[in-house]
């Protein structure tokens, strides 16, 4: 038998996933339930602090309407999108790394009928779930401040899950190549923090020159989640690169779906390569 050939060909095969993915998800959910009070607190307090500082503080200085609404309303939807990014990214970098590297949890699960692909897929779905939970909490806070003006906001959890899956998959690719836990400082400061500030979260992207708009649109995943969240929460869409709002929203969805699929598969392949020796 030519097992070596099997090994090489299997790397390019799409991952075979079964219902066992949810058993991995369930393990993480069980841990989350044990400590849910601690988990809820940051998601609850952070948006309140941001709304106070930027909305009531800085917002007073911003006199002109931002895309037809107040500045605090503008950043309200930005904060929901940021919660999606943070929730999934930190879950699938630091937390997944701890489970993989320090706790050897993945090794323990792989010794059962659950496959390594299913372990990673379960982790990604859990990362998306954390994003959904976090974004939903922030949405409630934003709503409590009276900043939600559309019933479509009820679809935010669905968007948060999809966007969460995107960030979970990106994060897991970093985890697959991380030599140690300090490595995550790089993607956090070079990727996550710039996105936090520059993805249409705190100021409209229409204010920057078109080439920069194009870069943000093409390379910053958060841009798409912010754009869609803002549409759901306040019914507003930016006009970017001279494109119509509807086209922008369509491209947002397409971008998220395609990139999520690619990185979902890539994350599983890279992690399998790291874990299986």
């Amino acid at each position: 038998m030519t097992s070596q050939q099997n090994e090489t060909t299997s790397r390019f095969k799409l991952p075979q996933l079964t219902y066992r993915v949810w058993k991995v998800w369930r393990r993480n959910f069980d841990v989350f339930l044990k400590t849910w009070r601690v988990n809820f607190l940051p998601s609850l307090l952070e948006p309140i602090l941001y709304l106070a500082a930027f909305g009531f503080g800085l917002g007073v200085l911003v006199t002109g309407a931002v895309e037809g609404g107040s500045y605090i309303q503008f950043i309200g939807s930005g904060l929901v999108a940021i919660a999606v990014m943070y929730g999934a990214f930190f879950e699938c970098t630091y937390a997944s790394f701890v489970r993989m590297y320090f706790q050897k949890t993945f090794d323990a699960i792989i010794a059962t009928p659950v496959s390594v692909e299913e372990v990673i897929a379960g982790e990604l779905l859990w990362g998306a779930t954390r994003a959904t939970i976090n974004a939903s909490i922030v949405l409630v806070v934003v709503a409590a401040f009276g900043l939600v003006s559309s019933l479509w906001a009820l679809l935010v959890p669905v968007l948060a899950f999809l966007g969460g899956l995107l960030f979970a998959a990106l994060a897991m690719c970093f985890t697959a190549i991380a030599p140690d836990i300090d490595f995550f400082n790089f993607p956090t400061f070079l990727f996550i923090t710039p996105m936090f500030l520059l993805s249409g979260t705190f100021f409209p992207l229409s204010l920057v020159p078109v080439p920069l708009q194009t870069i943000a649109f093409g390379a910053l995943p958060l841009t798409h989640i912010v754009s869609l969240t803002r549409k759901l929460v306040s019914g507003r869409t930016e006009t970017l690169m001279g494109l119509s709002p509807d086209l922008i929203l369509g491209l947002n969805v397409l971008w998220i779906v395609v990139v999520t699929l690619v990185f979902f598969v890539l994350a599983i392949i890279l992690m399998k390569k790291r874990l299986i020796k």
């Binding site: 038998m1 030519t2 097992s3 070596q4 099997n6 090994e7 066992r20 058993k23 369930r26 393990r27 069980d30 841990v31 044990k34 706790q103 050897k104 949890t105 090794d107 323990a108 699960i109 792989i110 010794a111 059962t112 009928p113 659950v114 496959s115 299986i276 020796k277």
Partner: protein
């Protein structure tokens, strides 16, 4: 034995990591109900072999079947009937003792009720009932080890893989684990264990396979290997040149080995030898003892034991 049923069959089993061959085309069988020990110095390929057995490491070449299932193409079936106690502690520190067993049972599709029943039974068997609701970090090394073996039994496996089950345990801890392994053996569980403790292999294993540099260099029952390679007894004398030359004359049929500051004579027939040698060297310290597996191991693996 009359055509015994083998549960595990490896032929030409090979694992390479780049240029390094960790397991070099080995062949072996394990029969139902046996306890087989893989012995060898560190880096001999024991753990790599075990990892291929539970489908963790893909084979580089060769064939490996477990209960008729191929580890490469039928990994799920294999993993469903194997219980694994790995060398390093990978208990889930996010859960209590009982929850570790319950969550692990879920991975095997065991229903909640069944899992609770099995978990309680296992905690009792491994004397961990008092720690049922304790977090993992409150357990001693010996308790953790017992819980890992308990977890490996949650799916009522046909084959139990124990990778260095007592490394790092204190003597009490070791003996508790040994007792439990003996009981499991009696219950008919097929056990494969790796160890570099020769007393452990002698105490627990029906058969041992000695590995070195990725190859199986000898196999058999501990007693047969001792008889074949060492004999009945070992005479130990303090080393100096005249001692060695006198021994060579006095005991021409026996193998003489110098190990550091000690001369060892492997005796097939120890009757009267001690008295004879004692008369020759009245001022030397002499010891005669039964030959054991460690003698075999050191002889075969060229004392490369780390």
């Amino acid at each position: 034995m009359v055509s015994p049923n083998f549960l595990i069959k490896a032929s030409g089993l090979t694992k390479k990591f780049g240029d390094f061959t960790a397991v070099d085309s080995i062949n072996f069988e394990v029969y139902e109900g046996e306890c087989v020990g893989f012995l060898g110095p560190n880096g001999a390929g024991k753990t790599t072999t075990v990892r291929m057995l539970y489908c963790f490491s893909p084979l580089t070449a060769g064939n490996l079947t477990v209960a008729g299932f191929d580890v490469t193409t039928q990994a799920r079936q294999v993993k469903g009937i194997v219980g694994v106690s790995p060398q390093e502690d990978n208990l889930d520190p996010d859960f209590t003792v009982i929850k570790n067993l319950q969550v692990y049972a879920r991975y095997f599709d065991i229903t909640k009720n069944e899992a609770n029943m099995r978990a309680s039974k296992l905690l009792k068997f491994f004397n961990l009932e008092d720690k049922r609701d304790a977090p993992i970090n409150e357990l001693s090394g010996g308790m953790k080890r017992r819980l890992i073996i308990a977890r490996a039994l949650i799916n009522e496996p046909k084959i139990l893989l124990l990778d260095e089950p007592t490394t790092g345990l204190d003597p009490q801890g070791r003996h508790i684990v040994w007792d439990k392994i003996r009981i499991l053996r009696k219950q008919g569980v097929t056990i494969i264990l790796t160890t570099h403790y020769m007393d452990e292999a002698t105490a627990l294993c029906d058969r041992v396979l000695i590995m070195e540099n990725g190859k199986i260099i000898e196999k058999g029952t501990p007693q047969a290997l001792i008889r074949k390679h060492v004999g009945q007894a070992v005479l130990e004398v303090e080393y100096d040149e005249p001692v060695v030359s006198t021994l060579k004359v006095e005991l021409p049929d026996s193998e003489i080995e110098v190990l550091g500051e000690q001369v060892r004579v492997f005796l097939k027939q120890p009757h009267g030898v001690f008295e004879r040698v004692a008369k020759k060297f009245p001022s030397k310290t002499l010891t005669i003892r039964s030959a054991n597996l460690e003698d075999v191991f050191l002889k075969l693996t060229g004392r490369k034991l780390e």
